[in-house]
């Protein structure tokens, strides 16, 4: 196990460094510096500004400084567009919001998806099964940017039950639509995966043995069937996490929730490279950490994996 942990961390660290270096080089490949504008600044002023941001140093030096700042202090440097704010401040403003509805979406996707898939498998070929399969196929083609406007049409324009956007300090009525819009397609995928793996498990010999032994159905399902059938779900959680965090960009734009996605798209429009880089690296860090945790969890849960 320890070997596996070391090996797995050994992949995560270079991945992170490559991501940082890649986005740094991408930023420098961009035509025009961050301070090129329609009204050219006097040469002296430009030189001073570039010295302040450290842009007068050679590229490798800038890169080392940047990587060092990110790795040791989680410091992404100043924003190039909002002169009085650092990237860290911008992230600190948006991140808690993204975290709140992202976490709720994650819980929703798992909490609804797994029971739905499990019930569908247990009651295979009944109306519950057909309903669950129908929902999960339908939701596959309803990604967040399709769900969001549809929800607004129904619940804001027709029924008038929920506010069509905004954050409202994170109170529940502002959270419902973002969470549902973000998590529906992942909920559906989790339900589908749970259903098919549960069906597989229910046909195995040890479940038949358990039945023959006369164990109550509840014990069979909870003690013997649930855990092995959740293994594929666990390995899907990594991609689902990436999907949720990517989808949060749409949610922030469409519902004006004010999370990180809003700043990301805004800085993409304004060519505010340092903010874009900061958010990309942060998201990459979260993704890599999460997939690390998932892999270790998987290795711990699955008794078949040996090292």
């Amino acid at each position: 196990m320890l070997n596996y942990v070391i090996k797995r961390v050994g992949i995560a660290i270079p991945t992170m460094l490559i991501l940082i270096i890649l986005s740094f080089l991408l930023m420098h490949a961009a035509p025009g510096g961050p301070f090129t504008s329609d009204r050219p600044l006097p040469a002296q002023v430009l030189a001073n500004i570039e010295a302040k941001y450290g842009l007068d140093q050679p590229l490798w030096r800038q890169m080392i400084n940047y990587v060092w700042g990110v790795v040791t202090q989680f410091d992404f440097g100043p924003s190039f567009k909002y002169k009085d704010r650092t990237v860290n401040e911008i992230i600190a403003q948006g991140f808690p919001i993204t975290l709140k509805y992202g976490f709720l979406s994650f819980i929703f996707a798992i909490g609804v998806g797994i029971p739905l898939g499990a019930i569908a498998a247990i009651r295979q070929n009944t109306w519950i099964d057909y309903l669950a399969v129908g929902v999960s196929i339908g939701a596959q083609v309803l990604p967040n940017f399709v769900m969001a406007p549809l929800l607004v049409i129904v619940f804001t324009l027709w029924l008038g039950w929920l506010p069509g956007g905004g954050w409202g300090g994170g109170s529940w009525e502002y959270l419902i639509m973002p969470v549902i819009a973000l998590s529906t397609s992942y909920m559906a995928s989790i339900a589908r995966i749970t259903r098919s793996s549960m069906l597989e498990v229910l046909n195995t010999n040890y479940i038949r043995t358990a039945k023959a032994k006369g164990l109550p159905t509840k014990t069979i399902l909870l003690r013997h069937a649930l855990k092995p059938s959740l293994l594929p779900v666990i390995s899907y959680l990594g991609p689902a996490f990436v999907g949720l965090i990517t989808g949060s960009v749409v949610i922030d734009i469409y519902f004006s929730t004010g999370g990180m996605g809003y700043f990301f798209v805004n800085s993409a429009m304004n060519r505010d490279y340092s903010v874009m880089m900061g958010i990309t690296i942060l998201v990459g860090f979260l993704t890599i950490m999460f997939s690390l945790v998932i892999d270790l969890l998987y290795a711990w849960v699955d008794p078949k994996i040996r090292y």
Partner: protein
Amino acid sequence: MIVANKKKIHQMSDNLSESEFVQGRSLWADARRRFMGNKAATVSLYILVLIVLFSFIGPWFAVWTNEEIDWGAMGSAATQGMPSFATGHFFGTDDLGRDIYSRVIQGTQISLMIGVIGAAIAVVVGTLYGSISGYVGGRTDQIMMRIVDILMAIPFMFVLILMLVVFGRSIGMLFVGIGLLSWLDMSRIVRGQTLSLKNKEFIEAAQATGVSDFKIITRHIVPNLLGVVAVYATLLVPGMILAESFISFLGLGVQEPNTSWGALISEGAGTIRYDTEWQLLFPLAFFVVSLFCFYFIGDGLRDALDPKDR
């Protein structure tokens, strides 16, 4: 005894040589038969063909082109731009007086093109990369797959947007970006298949007769992978369309005057508060129906071609 047997044997061999040669069914004919037996997949295929035909024949029936502006509907789309046959705006207009019918046709063409070309890039790169990695094996294989692992851990949508901003937003960049970042899954699948193929006798025979490695990969390995590749390619197309629509929804993808399903959905979604639901619902319907069809066709192909499920 022996004579009798000899007679029998002769008889049998006569029978064998005279009996009609049974027409063998090739893998592909077999697969086609299985695919056609799948109702959902066949119906999806027909619908998809209709959508593609519509995107080419549709302009003949359009009253307004995608560039004409209906000045009467401009600024008052909610009252003047309703879908109607009388005004010639079958799907209504947007607030600039542009005909949604023509825009949906344009968007359909561009979205489908991005889906197909993006998937094609992913197929070519992924198949070559995966088959080389699997065939060569050893240290090369390890390094090549480690690179894939690392690239897979990177949140690709964010990097893609970064690339689009840095290198300028254009359809060409979108193709390159989506295609280059989406071959990873394909290369893994192909590598796995290659590993199981490379120890088969016919590959050994090719090696023994002195065929070069590159030729073995292109002439003997890749053709045997086509079934699996075809299945995942059909599933890649909707994936590409989704990715493009996502970026266009954010306003970072296809730029005016071009449009795509994602861009149209984005526009429609931004204006639903002004009572112009048709602006959202028509492109949305095309998007959702097409994706449905692609998924069903992909499922049908997998059932028909994937040797695992037989």
